[in-house]
Amino acid sequence: MIKSIVYKEWIKTRWFLLILTILGLLAVGNIFLKVQHYITFNEAHNYWYLVLFQNQQYFKGLKFIPLVIGLVIALVQYIPEITNKRIKLTFHLPINENKALLMMLGYGVAVLLLSFALLLIVFIFLSQHFFGAEIVHSALISVTPWFLAGLAAYFLSALVVMEAIWKYRIAYFLASAAFILFFFEKGMAGAYAPLNWKLAVLTLLISLSMTFSAYRFRKGEM
C-alpha cells in the first residue's frame, strides 16, 4: 500500500522535484561563481573581510529557494487531490484515512529532505572550499531557517490546499504567511542562533496540520 501511495505521489511530483532541485543547485553554483568572480578581481582576504566585518552575506542567493521548493511540491502534490475532490478516492481506499494522509505527507517530507540535503551538501562543500570554518558555521546558522521555512511552507500549503471552504482557506493562508515571516527576519550572519531550535520545534509541531483540514473535508465541511 505504501508503495502504491509513493508511486502516485512520485507521478505527481517527479518532474517538479527534479527541475526545482536542479534550479536550486544552479542557484548554489551561482552563489559561488559570484564569490569566485569577486575574489578574482579583489583578492580573497578582502572578501573575507567583507563577510566577517561588513555583513556581506554571500549565501543570500539561497534565501527563497527551499521556500519555493516546499511550496511547489505541496501544490503539485495536493492540488490534484482537491481538484474534483479526488481526495475522496484516497479516503475510500482500504486503509485508515489518517494513515493514507500521513503516507502522502511522509513522501513529501522525504523528497524535500533529500532535495534540501543535496543543496546543503553542495553548499557546505563549496563554502568550505572558499571560507574558514567560522564563516561557514555562521552561514549555516543563517540558512537553517530558510530550509526550515521550506518544510513549514510545505506543511502549511498542504493545510491551505486541503481546506475546501474558501473563507477558511484564506484565513489559513493569512496565518501561515504571518508565521512564515518568522523564518525571514533580516539580520547579521549567525543572528538566528538562539531561534533556530525553536523554529525547528515549531516546524515539527505543524507537520501534521494538514490532517486538520483533511478531517474537516472528510466530515462534510466542503
Partner: protein
Amino acid sequence: MNKISRYILVFITILAASVALPELYWLAFEKPINAPFTMYSSQEHDFFMIKREQGETVRVDRKGNEYTRDEFELKLPMFFSRQLALNGTLPDSLNGVALDLHEISRARSSFRFRARDMQTPTPELYPLFESESGRANLEMPTDFFRITHRMEFLDAATNTIDERKSQMFTTVLNNRDFNYPAKMIAGIPTTRKSCDEGYFVVDSKDMMYHVKMIKSEPYVRKIEVPDGLTFRHISCVDFSDKKYYSYLISEDDGLYILTQDVYEFIRWPFDALQPETDELRIYGNLFHYTVITRRPGYQKAMALDTEYNKVDEFTETWKEREETKQGKIASFIFPAEMRLSVPTTNFIDFYGERTKKFNWVFLNLFLVLVQIIIIRRTKLKMQKNILDLVIVGITGIYGFIAVNFFQNKFFD
C-alpha cells in the same frame, strides 16, 4: 490528532499575530520620539541640550532657558570649536588654558556603545595588522587568525593554515602561559584607523594579553589585571590623544579604561550602566567627559574631569512609546507584543513583552463575550469550547483571531 493539530495551529497563529499585528499598528501610527542630545559645557560648568519639540529644534539649558543657535554654540566652545573659530568667536582661553584649535581636536573623542555591540554573533576570525610596517597606511593582511587550541593563521586565498606563522605565534603565547581557547578577542579590525594596536585577548582563565605583530614578529604581553576583575566586553578605541586603549565593561557592570603603555585599569565613577539594555555615549574634550547612558524614556548625563572624577550629573526623562497617545491606544488592544528583532541585541529570537497597563483586559473580556455569541450562533457545544474561551481571555485579540481562523468543529 485533529484536535491537537488545531490547537497547534491556534498556537502558531497567536504567535504570528502577536508579531504581525503590533508591527502593522506601529508601522501605521508610530511617531518619532527624540531623545535630547545633552552636552556638558566646560565654560558654564553646566549641562545644555538640544531637543525636538513639536517638530522644532530647541536649545535649552538645564533650567529650561532657550537659546538661539549662535548663543548656544557660544556656551559650548568645546563642542562647536570649529564653528566658533570660523565665526571668529572662539575664546582665547578657557579655565586658564590657552585654546588652540589643533589641541582641541586632538583631545576630542567620541564613543558609542550599544547593548547590541556586546550581544552580537561574531565569527571568531580576525585580521592581525602589521603594527610597524613603515608605511603610511595600514594594509589588510591576507590571512586571518583564530585562537582555539592554538593560534592559527588562515590564508584567505588558499583557505589553508599558515603553519610557520601559526607555530611562531603559538609558541610565544605558550611562553606567556596562555590558556586556550581565547574567551574574547577585541581590537579594531579595520585599516581605517590612525595606527594599529593589535588585539586584547582574554584567555579561558580570564588572563588578558596584548597581542600584536611587529615587523612580522609576534608581540605578546601579559597584562596585569587586578585580582578578581574580569570583563564581559572590551571596546577598543583609536583616539588621537592616545590616552587609553579601550573601554571595558566588567562583570559587575563597571566601566573601565585601560591606559596606554602602562596598562592601568581605571574604573570610572559610574554605577548606572545596564549593559544588556543601555546605550552609552562618551564625548571627551580638553576639560571634561560627557558620559550619557540612555534607555527608553530615560537618560543620565554625567560630567567627568580629565582625572575621571565626577563633577556633575543630570537625569532626564521623557515619554517613552508606551506613554504616548498611540501607546495608550495600543495598550487597549494588545495584551502583549512580540518582536523578532530588538534594538538591544543583534540576535534574532522571540522577544515578548507584556503590555504594562492592563487596559487590554476590557477588550479581552469583550472578545470572550463575542466568542460565546459565536459559539451559540454556530450551535457548537459550550463545554467543548471552554479552552477556546480561556485562550481568548488570556491572549485577547490574537487568540480571538486564532480560534476563529481554525474552527472548533469536531464530530464525535
